[in-house]
């Protein structure tokens, strides 16, 4: 606050008064809400029991049936959907045949383990550096030692397909959204929709449209994985300092030249972050895709879950994490290399490229021809060891920690969550609606209030008001926790490269370890409860918030930091007066992504006792009669996301700093 008021030279008195009055006004609104709740609680709360349906839900069921019935007759299916499916199927089946599955009449894939590792090593070295090459070889060897070679290759094939298509479509769209404000405004809600609409909602219709098989799995994955690529590409282009662009324009560069010589190179770091996030998102879908028969590590996790075999699930989950880390580090190293090519004699490099290329080809040939290089040797098996270790840690945690964790859960639930939830669900719906719109107007202005009104009206329309409010309470609690963690750890990582090196793998693991793996121990620690759902949401969402904040802190120009140090700022002053204010845009993005990631875990929460919208979606996926209700619940989750995000953004814009997404 003070940083921004001093930055703006002499704000007019009216604006200043309004700014000071706003917290007060919000306080008044909240007080009115409390009084209203006390007087009117239990009235007009729009309850709907889990087994009941509204006419809208039944109608959605009918629509779903109608779509299913028309799949053989409609030309849309015959020419568009089927063609699309065939194209994607071809891509995935080709990759699977190449590395994962017996193909072309052979009992093994075209490339055996030796070939795959050689190709991965060659790519890691050619695109990145020696260090990531060692990491990549180690990681891929680990898959074999874990006894999960084939499963890993299946997951790799699916991920590569989904990420490939995502980037092919996503980066151009992101560039467009970075350049055009109109397109940016248009696509933002679409991306919110893609990222927050629970996969469970569209999994069944997808298999109806694209049949059971690799195409459906790939499409389900890329719906979720593409948004980060688009968003971060656009973000990268939009945050290029205007001065850099003006300088180029003053030199008479065309739009295309400005894009290729200034915008893209300066945005490259953020675009690479987008590629990383796309890969992470794609891998995080490996387990969900397994529900529609997508082969790979996800299947191992799901199967192990049926018997609560945490050890086996962990083994497979670890392989997913390792794959994520390898892919992430290689792409990051590739990004760095493109930006700062190492100064080396090109002749030597060319010779090495050629030499290693030949060696790689030889390895490929060997793995094509000989059994020993095709099938990973089974002599050394780490898998069972890892499983046993994970299982015993879990057992210890369950037996010895749950005595501490359960009271902790009870305290948080009783002191924080329950009152909040009672307030949201116990008040008449129109009172809550008025409060939401009022706060939106106060914090974000007329436009945000309008969006909030539409969202609230639509929420009432879904027939799931009460469930929405229950989920809202959990979401807000989880997002607050995520941002608290994000600020503390993100600032630490942004300021200390060493902390970054140590923490980043942990974050990658938290983000890509399938939630199903840690849900079982979580259930033991916190029982089936809303708190368990919140904990799972925080584990999944905090890493992205932390990474974005760390990135923002690091992007603060070194000159500014040096100047502040020279002026004698303490670390605390540096953080609060210089780094955080200058990283404001990253903070907003972190809050946005943190919120969206929390919302994307609502359904997983439904599996561990959260009830409400998450359970509605899960039930809708499991029982045909509840499909429409599940779909409505999915829409409600999206609406909550859009509403909260717009209010938060509006508030951030109004309280100063660089407005998000405003025209330049």
């Amino acid at each position: 606050m003070s940083a921004t008021t001093t930055a703006v030279a002499g704000p007019p008195p009216v604006a200043l008064r309004r700014r000071l009055n706003r917290p007060f006004a919000v306080g008044v609104v909240l007080a009115v809400w409390l009084v209203g709740w006390a007087l009117l609680r239990g009235r007009d709360t729009l309850d709907l029991s889990p087994a009941s349906l509204t006419p809208l839900h039944r109608w959605l069921n009918d629509v779903n049936d109608a779509v299913g019935a028309s799949r053989t007759s409609s030309p849309v299916f015959r020419y568009v959907v089927n063609e699309l499916r065939a194209a994607i199927d071809t891509l995935v089946v080709f990759l699977q045949g190449l590395i994962a599955e017996p193909s072309y009449g052979r009992p093994v894939p075209v490339l055996g383990w030796l070939g795959v590792i050689a190709v991965v090593a060659y790519a890691a070295w050619a695109l990145g550096n020696w260090r990531v090459t060692v990491l990549a070889v180690g990681g891929f060897t680990l898959f074999g030692l874990q006894g999960l070679w084939q499963e890993s290759m299946h997951t790799l094939a699916l991920t590569l397909s989904a990420v490939g298509v995502s980037l092919l479509v996503g980066i151009p769209l992101g560039i467009w959204a970075g350049l055009s404000d109109r397109f940016h405004r248009l696509i933002t809600p679409v991306l919110d929709f893609m990222q927050t609409m629970p996969t469970f909602v569209y999994l069944a219709p997808l298999t109806l449209l694209f049949m059971i098989g690799p195409a459906s799995a790939t499409i389900a994955t890329l719906v979720y994985a593409m948004p980060p690529a688009i968003r971060l590409t656009a973000h990268g282009i939009r945050t290029v300092p205007p001065a850099a662009l003006e300088a180029t324009e003053s030199l008479g560069a065309t739009r295309r030249q400005a894009l290729t010589t200034v915008l893209l190179p300066l945005a490259k770091r953020t675009i690479v972050l987008g590629v990383n996030q796309t890969i992470m998102a794609a891998l995080s879908m490996a387990t969900i895709a397994a529900l529609i028969d997508a082969p790979g590590l996800g299947k191992t996790v799901i199967k192990a879950l049926q018997t609560l075999d945490v050890g086996t699930a962990f083994n497979a989950g670890l392989a997913i994490v390792v794959m994520a880390v390898v892919l992430d580090r290689v792409t990051t190293a590739a990004g760095v290399r493109v930006q700062h090519p190492p100064r080396r004699r090109p002749g030597v490099r060319r010779l090495l490229l050629g030499g290693f290329g030949v060696a790689t080809l030889v390895c490929c040939y060997l793995s094509y021809t000989y059994v020993w290089a095709a099938e990973f040797p089974t002599g050394v098996a780490l898998g069972p060891e890892l499983s046993r270790a994970a299982a015993s840690v879990t057992t210890w945690a369950q037996d010895d920690l749950s005595g501490v964790t359960r009271p902790f859960k009870d305290v948080i639930t009783v002191a924080l969550l329950n009152p909040f939830q009672t307030l949201l669900t116990g008040s008449p719906w129109w009172l809550v609606a008025a409060v939401v719109v009022g706060i939106a107007a106060l914090l974000g202005g007329v436009r945000v209030a309008l969006v909030a009104t539409v969202c609230v009206a639509a929420l009432v329309g879904t027939g799931l008001w009460r469930d929405s409010m229950t989920t809202l309470a959990m979401t807000i609690v989880a997002t607050v926790l995520v941002m608290a963690l994000g600020l503390v750890v993100g600032v630490w990582m942004g300021r200390s490269p060493r902390a970054d090196r140590v923490i980043r793998p942990v974050l990658d693991a938290a983000q890509t370890m399938p939630a199903f793996v840690y849900l079982i121990p979580f259930l033991a620690l916190f029982a089936a409860s809303r708190f368990t759902a919140i904990a799972a949401g925080v584990v999944f969402a905090a890493p992205v918030a932390i990474k974005i904040i760390a990135d923002g802190i690091r992007a603060v120009p070194a000159a500014t930091v040096e100047a502040a140090t020279a002026a004698g700022s303490s670390s605390w002053q540096m953080i609060t007066k210089v780094q955080l204010p200058m990283a404001r845009q990253s903070l907003t993005l972190a809050a946005n992504q943190g919120l969206i990631y929390v919302l994307s875990m609502v359904v997983v929460g439904g599996l561990v006792g959260a009830g409400a919208l998450g359970y509605d979606v899960v039930a809708g996926f499991s029982q045909g009669e509840l499909y429409g209700k599940g779909l409505a619940a999915g829409v409600a989750i999206v609406l909550l996301g859009i509403m909260l995000d717009r209010i938060a953004r509006g508030a951030a814009q109004r309280s100063g700093g660089v407005p998000v997404g405003t025209p330049r």
């Binding site: 609560l308 004699r345 030597v348 010779l351 030499g355 020993w372 259930l523 439904g606 029982q623």
Partner: protein, 326 residues
Amino acid sequence: MRRTITRTVRLTGVSITTAAALALAGCGGAKVGADDDAAARSVDCGTVNLAVNPWVGYEANAAVIAYVAETELGCKVTKKDLKEEISWQGFGTGEVDAIVENWGHEDLKKKYIDEQKTAVAAGSTGVQGVIGWYVPPWMAQKYPDITDWKNLNKYASLFKTSESGGKGQLLDGDPSFVTNDEALVKNLKLNYKVVYAGSEPALIQAFRQAEAKKTPLMGYFYDPQWFLSELQLVKVNLPPYTQGCDADAEKVACDYPKYDLDKVVSKKFADANGPAYQLIKNFTWTNADQNVVAKYIAEDKMSPQDAAKKWVEANRDKVKAWLPKS
């Protein structure tokens, strides 16, 4: 300059030598496809697409059917891991031939058997499904009368949790199963709140912890289920089921019916009347049989194939009765 050239030459030499060494070292051992004699033994059985729904009992049925189909009839069996709803969808698109353990699902039967006519019933699996409210064994021992629903209100305060809002908690579980529990609680005037755990693992974990820590728990569960061989949960007796007592979902005040778990196949698959179809139609065994195979898979951690093999070898006579008569 001179040094660069020497270094370049040396590096090239190194990489070429490595490649050559690799090539030489590799040129030993068996070649891919050399010992490949596994061709389909029988042509007339063809491929069977078996849906595998995500629970161990189903996996046991599917494993045994697949094993017999492959070894006795020479079929190629493709197992597809799918949820129920999506498996039924697969009948229409031709991607699923058979579902081999179906729990009720009257709505799906109506949609796919009666209306779309893409599926047909293929008889009972012989396994009986029971749904109900269960407590961990320690509770049944300590409070013997808890198994009568009339006493539940007396114990309601025991079951309070952070989720149940002051009432007793009734933990419901897997959304795949039909539940009347909210109506039951209301109509039997029980001072309980239904809390949705949301998944089978959540329920199992809850019961496991309740028994280990001797904490109170009552929850929705079902039999057959592999977990019951680890922990013999005790069923609470609700007012007995009578024909039609659950006709109106709002007014249900009786226990769940017993489910005859059955098989459903695609119309095309049935019409072709191949050996695999006859096997699936004839397949029938008992809860005890299924529990044995489920235990092999869930507790002894055998692969479904190995579990099926072990059971089939011990039960040749039962298997013989399923094979097509020809």
